[in-house]
Amino acid sequence: MKKIVAVALLSLPLTGLAAAGAILLTGAGATFPNPMYSKWFDEYHKLHPDIQINYQSIGSGGGIRQVTEGTVDFGATDGPMNDQQLQEFKQKRNCDVLHFPTVLGADVPAYNLPGVTAVLNFTPDALAGIFLGKIKKWNDPELMKANAGVSLPDKDILVVHRSDGSGTTYVWVDYLSKVSEEWKTKVGKGTSVNWPVGLGGKGNEGVSGQVKNTPYTLGYVELIYAVQNKMSYGKVRNSSGSFIRADLNTVTLAAAAAAKDMPDDFRVSITNPPGKDAYPIASFTWLLVPDKIQDPSKRKVITDFLHWMLSDGQKLTEGLDYAQLTKQVVDKELKAIAKIQ
């Protein structure tokens, strides 16, 4: 017992030493870009050993909440804050919050179908029906229609969604709200919704884990999670009628229309966009940064990091299957960084 206390006491100064003189930032939020952010913060730490940016992926809802409460220095979300949340932030923190797009990603319908090697096609009606609980079996006519020649099994579709407040969810239900009137009225959109059916997984990690381990499941995850875990993911029919698979190209195309008309606060939805080859369920993901930061060293770290992220950081995106921001967006952001006081 004494030994344990002694070791702990001895290591206390050690933990301080390890970070002595270091500038520490804490951020929390979206799991959607977590592989990217983890890599970025790791690389940034290698470049600047005295700077530690600790990012915890607890879900976009968590990012919004914690940055509003001020328990973290910045947040991250793939579902932009709505007006009510912006108001709440202003009330609690006496300043505004800025959205900074970082990368483009996509929600893909990942599934586990033993014996089926073909890439499945999903129509908007199929996806809405499955998640509403109306389409229950894999060999439902709606699915068979779009997948001629594929023998779909007569088994229940086990739906997996997010249990936590998620921007990935936001992107998915934002899309469903656009393509299905029934979904829009019955369930709506938000980072946490009242799911009609399905199992809840925690984070993109949890949903991926579920789908990967359980046969006959269908869930939505960020593209990189499906790729890294070698999961099957399907094509989705876009507004032009083509079945598109998510990849760097199709995701970038999805942002093309929005990039031209990017609003000043960067809050924009790019689901179901126009464009022949655009992927319909793509999204920007944002860092949430307060526009007034008291601590000058922290302010410098954040602004420096944002600059780095928009230049060198962007070069690392493709390795992890996230699409870069277009030059227009980058330029606009660089100007916006000046707003951080």
Binding site: I58, G61, Q84, D164, S192, N194, G200, Q210, N213, T217
Partner: protein
């Protein structure tokens, strides 16, 4: 510290000022220890008041309806506790269904049949089970139990008993059954340990009288000893129930996180502790957060009541046992 230091005899008159100081010393000690003991009281009072205060928005908006509403809709701002209360009670009762027969059976074996050394050794091992952290149970449940349920047990149950509403629906592996079985293993030690004590406390004469009247070993145990110890056994069951109610990590990892009410064991569900663990850090909006805190308050009250009942029963048994000595 040696007791050989000088001790002042109270009869010497010129020592009185010193003696007075000794008395004051006692009072200081009394005060100090009282303050520390009062801290325990204070902490608990503050805990309850914090829970009460932070759940205010939710209590004001939903009132008693909170307990009966099934809707958990963060988008629409509607929060109802029923799916979580149901899930908590359902999984806990189901785990009791599994653990009580096994636990009481083991307690009977350990108190009646096993030689003392074996009994002590096995009890020691079972009590070690109580020391295993919850998250490790969760780890094992995910990787060992769930695949077993998903690939073998649940399909088998569906084939044989699928006409019952308890065994219907799609098979995820994860869900009420997985959570209940995990809980059952976690509460074994409580039931076994305390029931064994209660059974051991039953006076020998009772057993011997039954045997003398021609009862078999089993009859003597089941019809005489066990009823005599029943308060203690029931108390252990309540204690285990309280433990099951509050269990967080292992359940969160295998319950499926779906705020729905379902009779089927295969269905995913949710418990109060699990929803708090999953959604607390991200509850956007004060109403959402206060609804979660209110759930915490409900859980606290539930476990308080059951723990209280358990204590009463266990104390009653030990008193009853010693009365006959």
């Amino acid at each position: 510290m040696s007791t050989a230091t000088a001790i002042h005899l109270p009869s010497q008159p010129r020592e009185r000022p010193f003696f007075k100081k000794l008395q004051d010393g006692d009072q200081i000690a009394h005060l100090i220890t009282l303050i520390f003991a009062a801290m325990v009281l204070l902490i608990t009072v503050i805990l309850v008041s914090e829970l009460w205060a932070h759940s205010a928005p939710s209590r004001a908006k939903f009132g008693l309806n909170f307990f009966f509403s099934r809707v958990w809709d963060p988008v629409g701002g509607q929060f109802g506790a029923w799916p979580f209360i149901y899930g908590t009670i359902f999984t806990s009762l189901l785990s009791l269904l599994i653990a009580v027969p096994l636990g009481v059976g083991a307690a009977i074996f350990l108190s009646e049949l096993a030689p003392p050394r074996m009994s002590n050794l096995f009890t020691f091992l079972i009590e070690l089970l109580a020391a295993v952290p919850s998250v490790i149970f969760g780890l094992l449940a995910i990787f060992a139990l769930v695949p077993l349920l998903r690939d073998y047990v649940e399909p088998y149950l569906q084939r044989t008993l699928g006409f019952l509403p308890f065994f219907t629906g799609p098979i995820y592996g994860i869900g009420y059954l997985a959570a209940s079985m995990t809980l059952a293993i976690m509460i074994f030690p409580f039931i076994i340990s305390i029931s064994r004590e209660a059974l051991l406390a039953v006076p020998r004469e009772q057993r011997e009288a039954a045997l003398a009247l021609g009862a078999t070993r089993w009859e003597s145990t089941w019809q005489v000893v066990v009823p005599h110890a029943r308060l203690g056994i029931i108390g252990s069951v309540f204690l285990a129930l309280a433990r099951a109610f509050g269990e967080t990590m292992a359940v969160t990892m295998v319950i499926g996180n779906d705020p729905k009410v379902s009779a089927s064991l295969f269905a995913p569900g949710y418990t109060i502790a699990a929803v708090i663990a999953n959604e607390f850090t991200e509850a956007t909006g004060d109403l959402y957060l206060s609804a979660l805190v209110e759930l915490g308050l409900v859980l606290f009250l539930l476990t308080m009541i059951i723990n209280g009942l358990a204590q009463v029963m266990i104390v009653a048994t030990t008193r009853k046992g010693s009365k006959h000595e």
